[in-house]
Symmetry: C2
Subunit: 423 residues, 2 copies
């Protein structure tokens, strides 16, 4: 029996262990600053498989002053990264399997039908915050490694497992792992792609725009300039920029996305008193960054574009909008569609599931951008969760998908690390 | 020497006392819930002129359950109303002089060049929060009564002085004074009109509108419906309603106002996360109410109008905006332009200042709406402050205007109360 069959059989026989693993991970409320316990569990899981485990609280000048560092935190005490390494027996290719353990907050508890961290298993699904983003993916990876370990399959190249913090705020955990030297010849990140394979990932970053007005009493509103009304022009202008930017996107991998690079207005806030003309409005949003452009290019384009507001409206000549880049930022990422890892992943997908995978570009950023750009580790994003479930109430992941993903990852890792590094 | 000349002369001689009075009133930081000390000062001033003084903490079922009651407060402990009555000697016409002692908060202290409650006198002006709105006017009234008292001028009708709280939040103080029986044949309210005479006052009320959207991840924003973008349609629709409502205004008293009945969008708030499509936006604003329409009519018109949003956009068919009327509300008010009090006031203005006053409609509401509608007391608004100074930093009032206003009020009160009630 070949290795792939052995892996499939072992996984089918141990399906209940996978369910328990997902449940265990989901039950950890590992929101930002609360990642210690889940990292302890991951560490133990890796140690049981005889991995060399490196657990450390990230920080230090090389991280905090790095150009790519971004986080609302300046201290990570109590929030360790965990990396497990299985040294290869020979000169095989190395691989990073990367997953973040942090989850976004559960939001309004009233929107949940059950405890957000219940980890309840029902009708083939495990429920809870983080199940889809991305503990289902993490379980798929750990279970894949467990199958290789249990079946005592040979591994010539290094397997490096990243269990990182802080992805949801911009990737400080992965950046720290890269700076500590944990890079490889390629990487797989099982973020929720709904089993699609994403060789390209959209980057993104957050902007904040202040739109000015002039105060007046609401009864003589014509004596003022309403910042909320001026803001409409700014929003329209951003929508126009979105159209222009998306017309430029020719990559067929983006063709299935109605708007490959959205500019999203996420937050608006302005004015203090119903009877006053507001003199300031704050907009916050996210702009998508194509794998073919840099963060800096997009910043420059947005700023330049908004200067054009003055052409249609003198107000903006004297009161230009103020643009800030703040908070989170994800680098775009890209791996060649013909990259050998892509081929293996695609073949294993087809063999295991009986149909060909969808290859596309992701509509959101992942730590793959950092791995590719900073870590020189070409990355593929492929996972069992569903994007439109991420960050929402009653989040769940389907066990069948986790299992299939785990099989595909295991077979691919096995194949990859047993290829010689230098041909 | 006739009474009018005596009044003018007495006031000129006692100008410094007026300045001290304005300064004293402005130095009291009588923001909401902090009105006790200033009311004590007013009480003493009235007692010195032998007025019967009624001082009481407003409240009780008749007030709190009254249709016209509106206030963010449900207890007024520590915030008394003060009413002083000078009983007439015969059957003369009665008059209410109404002024509120509450002031809006000082706002950002950094915007002030000096202490907001300094009451500093400089270049003919007294500076401080409330100087223009409306302690200058209150001082003008008290000083007018002081002149009549000091000159021992006869008064056949009752003079009723309202020193009320809570005007800035909708008029609970004046409503309480009305319900306690302190009404009259007419009333003067020296809110800041910049010496214009306002026989009509615009009413106004606050609305809150919730605009719904549908959440999605910002990277796949096309899967959601952006409530901030939908909100633009609501704002445009309100601006259109403003145009339609103002086309209907034919009253020549409103002709000097570019937009007699503004609909002001004062506050906007929506979304929580830059990378998410927001599913809810809250708008708050103020709609002006003409003296020719009722509060209820305007509520119905706005609600009906917003239902029309569904005609242009199906989204609003399934997700209609939600309209609430909340917070403050000022009844519109109106007195006949030919009313005898208007004639007296106009004549006295012309005699004292040597030119004819501007007669117009106010762009904002006052307690005059309550006095007219609920108290059956026709009211004129006429005062020394300047509208566009009200509620702003570095607020001031000009002493010369306060003095002129005081003379005009004193002469008018003297003339009015000495007319027989039943001719």
């Amino acid at each position: 029996m070949d290795a792939n069959k052995k892996i499939s059989q072992w996984m089918n026989e141990n399906r209940s262990e996978l369910i328990e693993l997902i449940k265990t991970l989901v039950r950890e409320p590992s929101v930002q600053k609360n990642e210690a316990t889940i990292q302890q569990l991951v560490e133990e899981y890796l140690l049981h498989m005889d991995y060399d485990v490196d657990k450390w609280e990230i920080g230090g000048e090389d991280l905090l002053s790095h150009d790519a560092f971004i986080s609302p935190r300046n201290s990570f005490i109590g929030s360790p990264n965990v990396v497990g390494v299985n040294k290869g027996s020979d000169n095989g290719k190395s691989i990073v399997l990367n997953g973040h353990v942090d989850v976004v907050p559960e939001g309004d508890i009233k929107d949940w039908e059950a405890d957000p961290f219940s980890g309840a298993y029902m009708d083939g699904k495990v429920y809870g915050r983080g199940s889809t983003d991305m503990k289902g993916g993490n379980a798929a990876m750990l279970f894949a490694l467990k199958s290789i370990y249990s079946l005592q399959l040979p591994t010539k190249g290094d397997i490096i497992f990243h269990s990182v913090i802080d992805e949801e705020s911009g990737g400080a955990g992965t950046l720290a792992a890269i700076l500590r030297g944990y890079t490889a010849d390629a990487s797989i990140i099982p973020e929720p792609t709904n089993m699609k394979i994403f060789p390209k990932q959209q980057g993104s970053m957050w902007f904040r725009i202040y739109v000015k007005g002039k105060s007046a009493h609401g009864g003589t509103s014509y004596e003022g300039t309403n910042a909320i009304e001026k803001c409409q022009k700014v929003i329209n202008s951003l929508k126009q920029l979105e159209r222009i930017r998306n017309k430029r996107v020719k990559d067929p991998l983006f063709s299935s996305l109605p708007i490959p690079l959205p500019i999203n207005i996420g937050v608006i806030e302005g004015g203090e008193w119903p009877s006053s003309v507001p003199d300031l409005v704050k907009l916050e949003g996210r702009v998508g960054v194509s794998p073919d452009e840099t963060i800096e290019e997009v910043k420059a384009e947005v700023s330049q574009w908004l200067k054009g507001l003055a052409e249609d409206d003198d107000w903006f000549e004297k009161h230009p909008v103020q643009v800030e880049w703040f908070g989170a930022r994800w680098f775009p990422g890209s791996i060649d569609v013909e990259h050998p890892l892509m081929k293996m992943l695609t073949n294993n997908f087809t063999n295991i599931l009986g149909y060909e995978p969808t290859i596309a570009a992701s509509p959101w950023g992942t730590d793959g951008g950092l791995l590719t750009t900073i870590g020189q580790t070409p990355s593929v994003v492929f996972g069992p969760g569903v994007t439109n479930m991420a960050h929402f109430s009653n989040e769940y992941v389907e066990v069948d998908k986790v299992l299939a993903c785990s099989k595909i990852i295991a077979c691919t890792v096995y194949e990859w690390v047993n290829e010689d590094r230098k041909k």
